[in-house]
Symmetry: C2
């Protein structure tokens, strides 16, 4: 018995992005593969995070876990925004309780000069191979695959600070004070990340997502003058693949006009902006993605449903809307809430 599957190009997710009306709202979740899933935790108990990212079989398995468990409208390749920094010459590890650590942070002109712009086919070979490995299964399910990379400002924060930091002050002083060094650093990061996106598209990703996690820390005029040009560099490179591009940043409400002018197809917004205001500020053409508060997924179902309703009400009648969270799924999220969320969004009219 053969099951007829809609081809990936006819998937709700790609259709919405291309402006083709779909009756059902497509939904995927940032960090949809993660610690909230028992399948994930079982694998994670036996491997480090970097092993799970670097070994294609493991990354492919984790990528498929949520699309096997739930009726999601897209898969996103399992990885992290930081591994591309390793190919640039930075030593990365994930330390329990501390998060990512760069052991040789970029602090001097010499450090920046020494950064390489690696060939992603070598430096990110595992992720590209994982993309090729999940394609047949996703094709069988008619599901598009999202590839992704970090945006240059967020990557610069990690590279300069050497890990998480509250204010990213070293990166931001560099940004404010050292025009030539900042340009050199950001150009290298934008090129590395842009070429990695391009390689992911060539390997089989249907959509490319740029994550600019820390960009909400910036004054709008700093974003426009000192960050957006490098986001555009990255987009110009990635756009060579001819695939739709999503741009997301935590706390990006104040930056929407600038982000909307970057040349991408989809803007992801976090939960701290009303979707109607976001739509008004972005204009009618861009696709809007978001923005349920991830904390709502920790609440009982009746509360979660009310919160989903609030997001759907804000997006009512918007033909260019994709349902997502306003940030990644939190580790304490009950699996059942994720399942019900996805069903509920699909059934909503």
């Amino acid at each position: 018995m053969s099951v007829t599957t809609t081809p990936v190009s006819q998937s709700r997710f790609l259709q919405r992005i291309q402006g083709v009306p779909t009756e059902t709202t497509p939904v995927w979740l940032m960090r949809q593969a993660g610690r909230y899933m028992p399948e994930y935790r079982a694998l994670r108990a036996r491997h480090t995070l970097l092993e799970m990212i670097r070994q294609p079989e493991l990354a492919a398995e984790v990528t498929l876990q949520p699309v096997s468990a739930f009726d999601l409208d897209a898969a996103i390749i399992f990885s992290d925004i930081l591994p591309p920094l390793e190919g640039m010459g930075l030593e990365l590890s994930f330390v329990k309780g501390e998060g990512p650590v760069i052991h040789n942070p970029v602090r001097t002109a010499g450090d920046i000069a020494a950064l390489r712009v690696p060939d992603p086919h070598e430096s990110m070979q595992g992720t590209l191979e994982a993309i090729r490995m999940v394609r047949p299964e996703l094709d069988a399910r008619g599901l598009p695959l999202i590839g992704f990379a970090g945006a240059p400002f967020t990557l610069a924060c990690y590279a300069v600070e050497g890990g998480k930091s509250r204010y990213h002050e070293n990166a931001r002083i560099l940004m404010l004070s050292e025009d030539a060094l900042w340009d050199q650093l950001m150009t290298k990061l934008a090129t590395t990340a842009g070429e990695f996106l391009l390689a992911q598209a060539e390997a089989g990703a249907n959509v490319l997502n740029i994550f600019d996690t820390w960009v909400g820390e910036l004054a709008p005029h700093h974003y426009e003058q000192r960050v957006l040009p490098y986001v555009r560099q990255m987009i110009d490179i990635a756009a060579g693949a001819g695939k739709p591009i999503i741009l997301f940043g935590v706390g990006n409400g104040p930056l929407l006009e600038a982000m909307g002018s970057s040349g991408v197809d989809v803007i992801g917004v976090d939960w701290r902006i009303d979707l109607r205001i976001a739509r008004r500020r972005l204009g009618p053409d861009l696709v809007l993605q978001g923005n349920l508060d991830p904390v709502a997924l920790l609440a009982p179902w009746d509360v979660l449903r009310r919160e989903i309703d609030a997001v759907l009400a804000q997006a009512k009648g918007d033909e260019r809307f994709i349902f997502n969270l306003g940030h990644g799924v939190l580790p304490a999220t009950p699996v059942d809430n994720v399942r019900r969320l996805i069903e509920y969004v699909h059934e909503a009219r």
Copy 2:
């Protein structure tokens, strides 16, 4: 020889708040008394933070340190937003490297029911006494004094989480899921904080500042429905003193209309919003305070000056503007940058 001093009521700071034109832009800085000052560090080396807050002589001394060192337009009483929680029954300490810790966080209906609404004249006696102690010196200098308290949402985050937390998810789940408990908790916090502000005004504070540090984490509809009513409760109580009230929140850009409707006189904004946009959204009547990125104070003077110029350009022609940072002075800030900032703002036309 006697020096004629302008009375406090004629100070630039109070005049601006009252809508009286002043030629010079008044300036004060959030956390203007703090670790960046050697005088502060010398005292801090011999006392715990809670001692410095609780002992009136110490709090008075620290309050006066920055107004002695710099030509500031206001003093702010040295304290923290959390000590009022002690009078409610919470056990507070400041742990090195970890920040504030509440040893008995509020987790159950019983915990919330057990919280007291203390008389600030008993529970915050030290701060009120410090206010009385600094008055003569400030009167001699013609300087107004700012009293302050934390807003109920931010206090709830600390009370429920037991300290700092990235997502404040326990507090926010309570907010979303437990209407009656949330109302009980927030009413107690708003009453405690409001009555403390009132007592500070009676002790000699000329202006009252409400700090809502974590409010930028909220979706606007959650702020309006579940937080703003309690901010209004607090303001209603504090307004009994007849003193101007400032409301500030980190990341409050998306909440400006709601905050502006709260009944306060001054809205403080962080650096992530252009002052012209903030003015447009707040309307012409409220006083606007902000919003230099505190990280700019870590940069060399020519960079800092350019950043001050950018803020002043955004506020150009705005008769209802008070210069401040967009958040507190960072510990690594060079003292000389603070001095030059204040001189520069005063000389700017």
